[in-house]
């Protein structure tokens, strides 16, 4: 078959051909291995168990029960009177009832220790879009955001790809449980300066992904002081705020602002979503909560590119404004996650593996550095490959999260049944035994 080549093919943009989507990193390569050989209790018991996806499946039954008992949420009432209005509703302000329900839900999660104004909520189709949108608004192409390591691998794509903004890491290590320090923030700032990059903000994830731990009050104060001092923005991604194991241990940046009388609040923005806490990533629901009027206005306008379906807004407005449901959900979800966490920590301990002390999230931060041939990234990736291919578990290597210390791995525990988690722990146990014997 002859192929005529008259001229070079019609070209694509730099964005289209760039690698910044990051889908060639091990974080995503492991997913491919899972897709090709997925574990199934009955049909494929020796397949790869997915422990690299931070999804919450422990509380589905609560959602299903609510929907069964409240069919009005999934429909528009008898005769569907509200349907027409809902189907036409594409206002980027979002449904007032939904924003009110989100504000209430966010308050409940924080035990009422912070108040949220529904008019400061901007809706986006997922937290991925929220983070990207905020980056477009707070920084110009070529500017930098400071992000503490280790961090969620998706940030490399979400914060940088189309925005042209750079990430300068704030290095954290195990000497103090990977907490951010003023020295580390200063060092990152100086590093950015030396590269002639203008720092526009600092982005923290609290509770942290991949550490699975909340940020302490004193550290939050230091981070806010740093942002004030450098006159930059502070974005707090609190997507796991409802997935803490105890209600009192999570301190939101909103609470810090409240105790300071909202002084310096115009630089603070919170990202939230229902993908983790409510286990509804397929619904694509994210929010930006900003204390800065201009940011709220521009984010709202820009959200035209990423609106939430009005059908979904209606459904969730019903669900989340049902106090009985939301209170019970938050409490029960917390209990179940705690139980899972205890189960995995115990299982790993029995296998001789230590984890960072965690108190939140859908994963734990596991220390396998004693198993490394040498303390290097290559060694870590070697170990990761062995675990993927021999033990058949997909876990996320710390290097994909830009961790400066090799040997740490993120292990998700909420996206599977208890039985599957048992199998995974058994496999790890056997693997560790084999290694001890050799």
């Amino acid at each position: 078959m002859a192929i005529e080549i008259e001229k070079p093919g019609v070209g694509l943009s730099k964005v289209a051909v760039s690698e910044t989507h990051g889908e060639d990193s091990p974080y995503f390569a492991g997913w491919k291995a899972y897709d090709e050989n997925p574990y199934n209790e009955s049909s494929n018991p020796s397949g790869v168990i997915q422990m690299g996806l931070a999804e919450n499946q422990v509380s589905f039954d609560l959602l299903e029960k609510y929907l069964e008992e409240h069919s009005e949420a999934s429909s528009w009432g008898k005769g569907a009177p509200g349907f027409r209005e809902n189907a036409l509703f594409q206002d980027y302000h979002g449904l007032k009832s939904f924003r009110q329900a989100m504000a209430n839900f966010m308050e409940q999660i924080r035990g009422g220790r912070a108040k949220f104004d529904p008019d400061r909520i901007v809706l986006t189709a997922g937290a991925t879009a929220a983070n990207e949108l905020l980056t477009f608004i707070l920084a110009d192409p070529g500017d930098a955001l400071l992000v503490p390591t280790p961090y969620y691998p998706g940030f490399d794509r979400d914060l940088r790809w189309r925005t042209g903004v750079k990430i300068v890491p704030i290095h954290c290590d195990s000497s103090n449980n990977f907490q951010v320090t003023p020295e580390a923030m200063e060092a990152a700032y100086r590093c950015a300066e030396s590269m002639n990059l203008k720092v526009r903000g600092i982005l923290i994830t609290n509770p942290s992904n991949p550490l699975g731990a909340t940020i302490q009050r004193s550290v939050l104060e230091q981070i806010l002081d740093f942002a004030v001092n450098k006159n930059i923005h502070l974005v707090s991604d609190e997507i796991y705020s409802g997935s803490t194991f105890s209600s009192s241990e999570f301190i939101s940046i909103a609470e810090i602002l409240e105790t300071r009388g909202y002084r310096d609040s115009e630089r603070v923005h919170i990202v939230y979503s229902l993908s983790k806490d409510l286990g509804l990533p397929g619904f694509r629901v994210g929010t930006i909560y900003s204390y800065n009027d201009k940011v709220v206005t521009t984010a709202r306008r820009m959200s035209s590119f990423t609106l939430i379906s009005s059908q979904t807004q209606h459904l969730l407005a019903c669900m989340l404004s049902n106090r009985e449901f939301s209170e019970n959900y938050i409490k029960t979800n917390r209990e179940r996650l705690t139980k899972r966490y205890d189960m995995i920590i115990k299982g790993l301990k029995n296998a001789g593996i230590e984890c960072l002390k965690g108190n939140a999230g859908l994963f734990c931060w596991m220390n396998l550095s004693p198993l490394l041939e040498e303390p290097s990234r290559e060694s870590e990736l070697e170990l990761w490959k062995i675990i993927l291919n021999e033990v058949r578990l997909n876990i996320s290597p710390g290097s994909s999260c830009h961790c400066s210390e090799p040997g740490w791995f993120r292990v998700c525990f909420a996206n599977m049944s208890e039985q599957t988690l048992d199998i995974a722990l058994e496999r790890i146990h056997k693997f560790m035994e084999r290694r001890r014997r050799n």
Binding site: V10, A80, R200, P281, Y291, T297, F305, L307, Q311
Partner: protein, 509 residues
């Protein structure tokens, strides 16, 4: 805080004056001290509320920075990006201003008969009764997953493919094929689904062009393109002017001229952006013209984006030809052709956010797929639509009825305008007509057109879109969307225009 010092009395040594002036001054001084101490910029227990959220900020409230002023002495506010700064400016396009005004004071035949009649939003409200009926009969079943459970969400709660489920793609392929007269079949694997046509267009732009590149766009065009194609991509839109004498149909020579002129000043053209059916004019591109455009694109080695979002809103007798049809039947290089579609117009569901990119170029699809993570369709909506679109009987009834009703409204509305001496361009599609109101303009030109628009909005209280907002080179043309009206409202609209026309004729004469 100023200290008032009663110098006069002190210097002149007159006791009475001292007391007379000292005491009030002292009181004044202590009053200022009291005010300073007790002025609290924000309440201690509640977060500051945002300023009155008009979509167009005339003035920005800076409550938080004022507090900075008092507490730290520094008055440098934390900056936002240049992009955000330009977006935060009040919206000065009549297109958006009109939409705001109409939504603030919406006309209702019974509850608000003096309100603003909205003719500036191309929304189709004519067939909701059919969709509502379908919902009532089918909703429970449509939300059921493949499992037996009632309203099971386990199929839709978890992460879905970010560019849309295969079920929805297949359903959309079938629907699009039916909409476009069955002449083309669409491949689900060549689709990327997005939360509305707005992100579809932007995503395509990100894939095809770099910052500073340009697209050629025939005028008049949909005002939203200025936002969707330019804001975040940094791409330029080069207008290719079409004229009334050609019934606003594009000419290749105009396209060529625009291409050469732009290239001369050093800007790279990456493609042509077409709307077919056209918005705001409502005419269709002929098969011959589509071929000519494909030849042109091949010659210049550029892309063609064809926004076919109104393909299902044909009311005239002319046949709609999709660029997919032409590309299939002739031997054209498909890799440069991309189609944008969505359900906001043809199925009246703009709130549900369902759009798509359809491309023949694997590389574009691969990149676009990855970008959909920023604008995916919500899973419950995908499930609902799979049900609806797969109901062939319903879709057939809907399409036939929709066409009839749009045609009826169009004929009534255009006849009404003709009765006022206002002629409309020849059109056969869309939810609007393109009306020549130049006779009503006082001074012929863009200023005169905007003055007429303003009077229509504030005095006659009807919101229609002036041609200048659509970059039309000939003043006096206005887009009037008639599918948001009931038949009974048409005489009201005509009466209001007539009244305004009479007043202006009187003042001129």
């Amino acid at each position: 805080m100023r200290l008032v010092v009663p110098l006069q009395g002190v210097v002149q040594g007159r006791g009475g004056l001292i007391f007379g002036s000292l005491i009030p001054c002292a009181l004044f001084y202590f009053l200022q001290l009291y005010l300073k101490r007790h002025r609290s910029p924000n309440s201690r227990s509640n977060p500051p509320s945002p300023s009155a959220s008009a979509q167009n900020l005339a003035e920005l409230t800076r409550t938080s920075s004022r507090s900075n002023l008092l507490s730290r002495g520094s008055i440098v506010p934390v900056l936002i990006s240049s992009l955000a700064t330009s977006i935060s400016k009040p919206n000065d396009s009549p297109y958006y201003i009109g939409l705001d005004k109409a939504s603030e004071d919406p006309y209702d035949r019974i509850d608000n008969p003096d309100g603003v009649i909205q003719l500036g939003l191309s929304e189709n409200r004519l067939c909701f009764d059919l969709i509502e009926k379908w919902m009532l009969e089918n909703l429970k079943d449509s939300m059921r997953g493949r499992e037996e459970g009632d309203l099971s969400i386990s199929g839709i709660a978890s992460y879905q493919p970010l560019d849309g489920t295969m079920e929805l793609k297949m359903a959309m392929a079938g629907f699009m094929s039916r909409v476009m007269g069955g002449a083309v079949s669409f491949e689900p694997s060549q689709m990327v689904l997005t939360a509305g046509a707005t992100p579809a267009i932007e995503t395509l732009c990100f894939c095809l062009a770099d910052h500073g590149n340009a697209f050629l766009v025939p005028t008049p065009y949909y005002p939203g393109f200025d936002r969707d194609m330019k804001w975040r991509t940094g791409v330029e839109l080069i207008p290719v002017h079409c004229r009334n004498t050609d019934n606003f149909v594009l000419s290749i020579s105009a396209l060529n001229q625009a291409f050469n002129q732009t290239r001369k000043r050093g800007t790279k053209i990456r493609g042509i952006l077409l709307s077919n059916p056209a918005n705001p004019v409502g005419n269709l591109l002929s098969r011959e013209m589509l071929c000519d455009l494909l030849y042109f694109a091949r010659e210049k080695n550029i892309h063609i984006i064809s926004d076919e979002i109104f393909a299902g809103s044909i009311y005239g007798n002319e046949e709609f030809v999709s660029i997919a049809d032409v590309v299939d039947s002739e031997d054209f290089d498909k890799s440069r052709v991309h189609i944008v579609y969505g359900l906001s117009k043809d199925l009246s569901l703009p709130g549900f956010r369902v759009g798509m990119i359809y491309s023949f170029n694997e590389n574009v699809l691969a990149a676009a797929r990855k970008l959909t993570r920023f604008s995916s369709i919500s899973a419950p909506t995908q499930r609902l639509l799979v049900s609806m679109l797969s109901d062939a009987r319903f879709i057939e009834e809907y399409m036939v009825t929709n066409k009839k009703r749009i045609r009826n409204m169009h004929d009534l509305f255009v006849a009404g305008l003709e009765g006022l001496g206002i002629r409309c361009a020849d059109s056969s599609a869309g939810l609007y007509c393109w009306a020549d109101m130049s006779k009503l303009i006082l001074t012929y030109g863009e200023k005169g057109e905007l003055e007429l628009w303003e009077k229509l909005l504030h005095v006659a209280k009807i919101n229609i879109t002036p041609g200048s907002a659509c970059h039309c080179i000939e003043p006096g043309w206005f887009r009037c969307c008639f599918t948001t009206l009931d038949k009974e409202d048409i005489p009201v609209v005509m009466e209001r225009i007539r009244k305004l026309a009479d007043t202006r004729a009187a003042s001129r004469g």
